[in-house]
Subunit: 488 residues, 4 copies
């Protein structure tokens, strides 16, 4: 579809302003007028941010998160209402919508990329130079941020048990996921808002994944259309993350498109039936966004309304939906977000092709278990799964040493999310530099624990004694016989 100026209606500001309520909601985006009424409840970012611009020009806010092309990708032509007659723009109308928020402005100069020497440096650089909005959204996590921080601290509490006098003249970090060869067993976790820090977002990460020989899991919520991303590095394998949509047809379309574009596997997110309360982010938004999209009244920030409304994600997803996905695509299917041996066992029963142990970086449910402990839990309570499928893990990985620890404990590959978002501050080059640093760290560790390639990792190379007591001993509580209250 082309929205050519010659065959589309020309609409005045007055026409647009007539549709300024949640129940009748038109927006102007780069000169085009769109009726988003039916999309308000499906917007991944929540309805408020759309309703806020009802009847107005939302271009600035839109491009902060999305590529323009994603609009046509996701909406049928019937929602396109015409082009704005720019001669009708009044100073008041313009001014009321075009203000760039203070929180969306870069906060300072970026340090030189060459001066960043570890993943923490990317974090610090983003904190100092990216917009407050971007950094807050990336760094935040659910409520007390306990799980976000524990992901990292538990990894640190695992020691190496280095072996000496091994010939490590050359070391080789190469590995594979699902048969895809990789220069190192690292993948980029899906994230939908890379545009906040760099307009190229997923496109830049995909270029970097190719140049460095790793893989990216592209998000359902990418700011760029999947096709645009994939064409950045033709032929390079990619993976696709799926949020199952309440409207299953939309998910079917996505799956078929991903498959048609050469996707190698589907990562179905299973840890997002609810949404985390990311308080630093809420505080930031509450200064800007306090109107209830339904009632139109000022609403109480934090009362949960924004968070619970409008999600397109199917909170009714159950194990049966695995069959439905299998009916749509034969691509390998990995469950992203399993954090218990019990669910790992059910996943085996459903013959999925892998699981990604993840707690969403602590963003959804605080006090969900640090992922490295879940990896240990699988060994304790469901060890047979390591013979059945590949196990991946993310959460808190910052160092090459962290990656090696997880590999020693049976992970096939490790994912990183926040660090890549911080690296995006420097575009594809930033991501490449991050990967180089991690690879160099891995190589140094490999030499120093005495292995030449990753076929040699095994649990005897790490000492988990400091955290072993934290791993649940089995599916039942060690001494509580009482079960659900309904049995009382």
């Amino acid at each position: 579809m082309e929205n050519d100026a010659t065959d589309t209606p020309l609409l005045s500001v007055q026409d647009v302003l007539a549709h300024n309520t949640p129940a009748d909601c038109w927006l102007v985006i780069q000169g085009e007028v769109w009726d988003l009424t039916s999309f308000v409840g499906e917007h991944p970012g929540g309805p408020s941010v759309i309703v806020k611009y009802a009847g107005r020009d939302a271009t600035d806010a839109f491009v902060e998160i999305h590529a323009l092309s994603i609009l046509r990708e996701n909406l049928s032509t019937q929602h396109f209402k015409g082009r704005l007659d720019t001669s009708t723009i009044t100073p008041e109308w313009k001014q009321s919508t075009q203000k760039t928020q203070a929180t969306a402005k870069p906060r300072g100069p970026k340090p030189e990329l060459a001066s960043l020497i570890n993943s923490y440096d990317f974090d610090k650089a983003a904190a100092a130079s990216a917009s407050e909005k971007a950094y807050t959204f990336y760094s935040t996590a659910d409520t007390d941020c306990w799980t976000r921080d524990a992901n990292e601290s538990m990894l640190k509490r695992i020691w190496f048990r280095p072996r000496v006098m091994k010939d490590v003249t050359t070391v080789d970090t190469s590995s594979s996921m699902l048969g895809i060869s990789m220069s190192m067993p690292l993948f980029i976790c899906p994230a939908g808002v890379g545009s906040l820090i760099h307009p190229d977002a997923e496109k830049a990460l995909f270029r970097a994944s190719k140049s460095m020989g790793i893989v990216e899991i592209v998000s359902t919520n990418s700011g760029h259309p999947l096709g645009d991303i994939v064409e950045q590095a033709p032929g390079h394998p990619f993976l696709f993350q799926l949020y199952l949509n309440k409207q299953k047809e939309k998910s079917r379309e996505l799956l078929l498109k991903a498959e048609s574009l050469g996707c190698k596997a589907i990562f179905l997110t299973v840890d997002s039936a609810g949404r985390g309360k990311r308080e630093s982010d809420e505080r930031l938004k509450s200064d800007e966004l306090l109107r209830d999209p339904i009632t139109g009244k000022m609403m109480k920030a934090g009362a949960g309304l924004t968070r619970l409304m409008g999600s397109f994600i199917d909170q009714g997803m159950t194990w049966k939906d695995i069959e439905w996905i299998r009916s749509v695509t034969k691509l390998p299917l990995i469950l992203k977000g399993v954090t218990s041996a019990e669910d790992a066992r059910i996943a085996m029963a459903h013959n999925v092709d892998g699981i990604l142990i993840s707690n969403h970086g602590g963003r959804n449910l605080d006090y969900s278990p640090p992922t490295i402990l879940v990896l240990l839990e699988l060994h304790k309570n469901c060890p047979e799964i390591f013979d059945r499928m590949e196990i991946y893990v993310d959460g808190g990985f910052r160092r090459g040493a962290d990656i090696i620890k997880a590999l020693c404990l049976g992970a096939k590959a490790v994912g990183m999310g926040r660090s890549f978002l911080y690296a995006l501050n420097y575009g594809a080059e930033g991501a490449e530099h991050l990967i180089q640093l991690l690879k160099a760290e891995m190589e140094a560790v490999m030499k120093l624990i005495g292995i030449r390639d990753l076929s040699e990792v095994y649990p005897g190379l790490v000492n988990t004694a400091d955290v072993d007591h934290l791993v649940p001993s089995g599916p039942d509580h060690p001494y509580i016989r009482w079960r659900a209250r309904s049995n009382l």
Copy 2:
């Protein structure tokens, strides 16, 4: 009784000043002259604060804590001596008693209620805006405040074990206590000094409990008469907390009044045979209140005199008193303040209807056990109790996640005290907002651990491995055979 101006004596300032000793103690409260001599030793807040105003006008200090109506509620008419002849007031007399203490003044502006997004925000808002006297009294605890802080930190050390792929499209937090339906299993703990932060105090909390569908335990020491509180929300169930009075008749009256007003259950406090040494509070008071009410001399603050004198609470209460209470009322009887499996077992033997595991928010005995550990202790050493009665718990609960953890471990409902006092800073609306926030947090957690209603909670949804070693293994010490020294 009406103290009508026409049929009561008119007393001069000189008349009043003649009764200015602990042994002969008249006070003026809103123009009325009362002889409080016999009440000095019974005052829940200690004798000093009364004796300080002997022969003077105590109105300001009185209304800070109490409704005026409570005076007539608690004292027989014989203590009313007449009305003050205001023409006899001298500037010196007035000035010497009417000064509002600096510590009783609000310290700053309140943030907008809508900007508070969790229970901690209410704490911070109270710290910044309420009077120093109110915040200090609410936040204080016994001596080192170790138990107050451990209540909270132990809850944080418990992890969730989330389950995925459950249909949680809708979740339902409703539950019940003693057969009373509730929108969520949360109750407001009794507290007697809400007036320090808001004049409506318990009345506001009772209105909020009705509008939000939870229940309030009203304190023996409420600032408002019980009847005034109950009439705020006619028909809404309430619970009543009892301190057994040394003068049993007074307790009988209270119990009968509570029953007559529709009370649903009695929470007998059993953890207050002594009184905590709340040092931040003592320091604050010692600046204002250093005269020994008995000797009239300046006394040593902190030497324990103020704390140990004058309490009306029966420190001789034993298990036999359960029978006495049963003889007065047939209402369900819950023991508030049990913290050991041994006492839980005795409570069962006495057929009480429930226990509330509580350490009084750490306010009475520092180093008493964090309550969530006591809940675990019951499972370990007295598991049969969960089949016999409902178990409640309070202490350190700040998040919806905390509540869910306790429910998973067998609690039927959870109480919060300090947070509601801080919320009272905003009256009933503040309490409602707090409850809304907690309910939204609970709902998010329920979705993310994979349960739809509270009949599905069970211990397998939490991991207590980090604190299990802190739970006593049984009634006896693990390796000390020696018992009481008297047996030496």
Copy 3:
């Protein structure tokens, strides 16, 4: 002996200055000239401080630590050389010796005694108002101060297990040591330098011990003669701490004098065969005292010279010396400083009358075990000792709650040292106030754990689960079979 001016030589400053070396060392103290040459090596405070004043007036430095009467008490008349002819004093001579050190001056005003409400307040008050020299000496400990701090932190990690519904209308803290009745089971630990903070020192403490009904252990190194101390409270029992002197005759004299003055028991210090490196104290002294008393050269502070020289304590003391003491006195004999089950067992074999578990407040050997853990160790590895003798403990006790914890674990009484030195800042009244505070804290705890008198304490009232794993499991290391290298 009387040093009457009429029958003693009159000596000039020139006469005195002729004896200004370690090997020939005269000092002037309050107008009297003493030859301290033979005492240089025996001085409990080390030789340097004496040699520093060789040939000069040492009055200021002397009275800071000692009563003048102790000079005649400890030195035979032959060391008295005469009186100083004050007409010979030159300005230079006077000025060079009479300067009060900056570190010996009070640092600020004392808070009002009545405003101190716990033992920590006494510490803070001393830190703010006492001389730097006094506070540094009292608060210091060996090297890293790990044991000093762990004494306290381990006590905090022990929880109560309160019992409810006990009749605690009245509680009674009275107890006894060795048959001596006490108002509470608390004793004052021996300390020899109380004069640094108050001239009355041990005398004030002894008065307070009588007025409050507790007992004091008087130090071998008291600043006042034992007789002077005892006459402060005639008839009140006292205990005597002994450092065995290399010259056994001196110890015999001390023991006989103590016995003759009514001493009830001897506490033989067994943990001082070496001397701690108290670094904050060394740094303070090194600014003033850098001359090697032997070579006369500037010495390296901290090289251990000051610490290892000149001690009068017998580092060759062995178990056989128990017999020698028994041959001198039949008073009960308690060993102060036992910290292992092994030595406790040997103590039993030598039929001593008690042991005081002590690590000298962490002042002698850092990383020696926190005393409350030693108490637990005895239960684990030498439980029979509790049937054989009374066990006392000191180290880190700050609260009435701490005392109750130790009593529950089998201690017969608890000692406090530093807190009493800080309380001496206010003389006897300060010590009395401290004891009152501790007694009130004990009473509150007793009511709240449900006991009426101290015959009811027993291990089931505390939960030691948080520290149990730190208690050695037996005399041998749990998994190291290898013993001394000599057996290799």
Copy 4:
């Protein structure tokens, strides 16, 4: 060889400047022109620092690390190209190379040596007074510095179990290593860059080792030729640390030279197959040294290039190389850097003469085990080794108490590295003072735990309960049966 001015070519600045690339690299050092092209890749300090001075005068940078004599020691005469014709020096040429870097300048005055009273004081003094370059290089460690800090903190978590009533009138710290008598069981760890803080470097340390009766392990990378070091204290035994060179002949020469100079044993470093990422050091260097020596382009600091290139250390060293060393020299052979029971067992099978448990001060592999835990691991999983050879340990030792703890746990002697580098700030006298302090600390501890000489140490004198759970229980992971992924 003598580079006499009369028989060597005189070269102009222009001649030198013609060789200013990595592939053709001449340097001027103290007036001599050297062709270092073939040495660029072998330089222990990496190639960059050489290439940086290609075609220029490197004197300042050279003498900072090396004695001038080491140049002739290590390079054959063919690399000497002639003397610089000083008349050809231009101001520009001179200025461009002779600038002393700011980071190489002392930062402040040194405190008086006599005022330093423990090893930490030397650290603080170096931090305040040595050049930033020196202090940063000495204090740094791999990545997160976790192991560096844990070495120390784990030692602190071990308690003493003192014994009393032992005759400790005199204590004797003397011991031996490999039959070499020592005044105390302490050795100086090898370090190659002492010149950064003092020009005498290893020479000063060797003088101190003799005067104080301990031993020094001289590094392969010493800044002074071995002969120059040894002649400082003729006849005093020394040990030699060896990095096996990729060019085995070079190692043979070194071994033979060491043997000829009277070396008593070879310490073969086995923990340096890779090189740590010492980030504080990298950051410092990256400000000065950003040119890739190969490409000539600005390089990304931290990308690992500097660290992985140019090492002369044989990363292919295996157990077979033990035989090769044995074929070169019959000196006792100790493996430096063993950190697992498994490798200890292999070391036994290869009949080495001892092992030095070391993690290189945490400088090479972060998260390698704290060395005191490795000592415990040997007792648990390889106890027979203590009957077969002497075991040494270094890492985190700061106190005499630390040394005694290791001896009690079976170490024959203890090494310290960083502390001696900090002490070098004061030359040989500084090292002597440090040793005196440690010896005095040891003596005090010995008296206070009740031993007279080091034949009496044994595990029962320490309590390791706080760290025992961190020691791996055996060669296999406690519950992970899965081994290397290649077996999947």
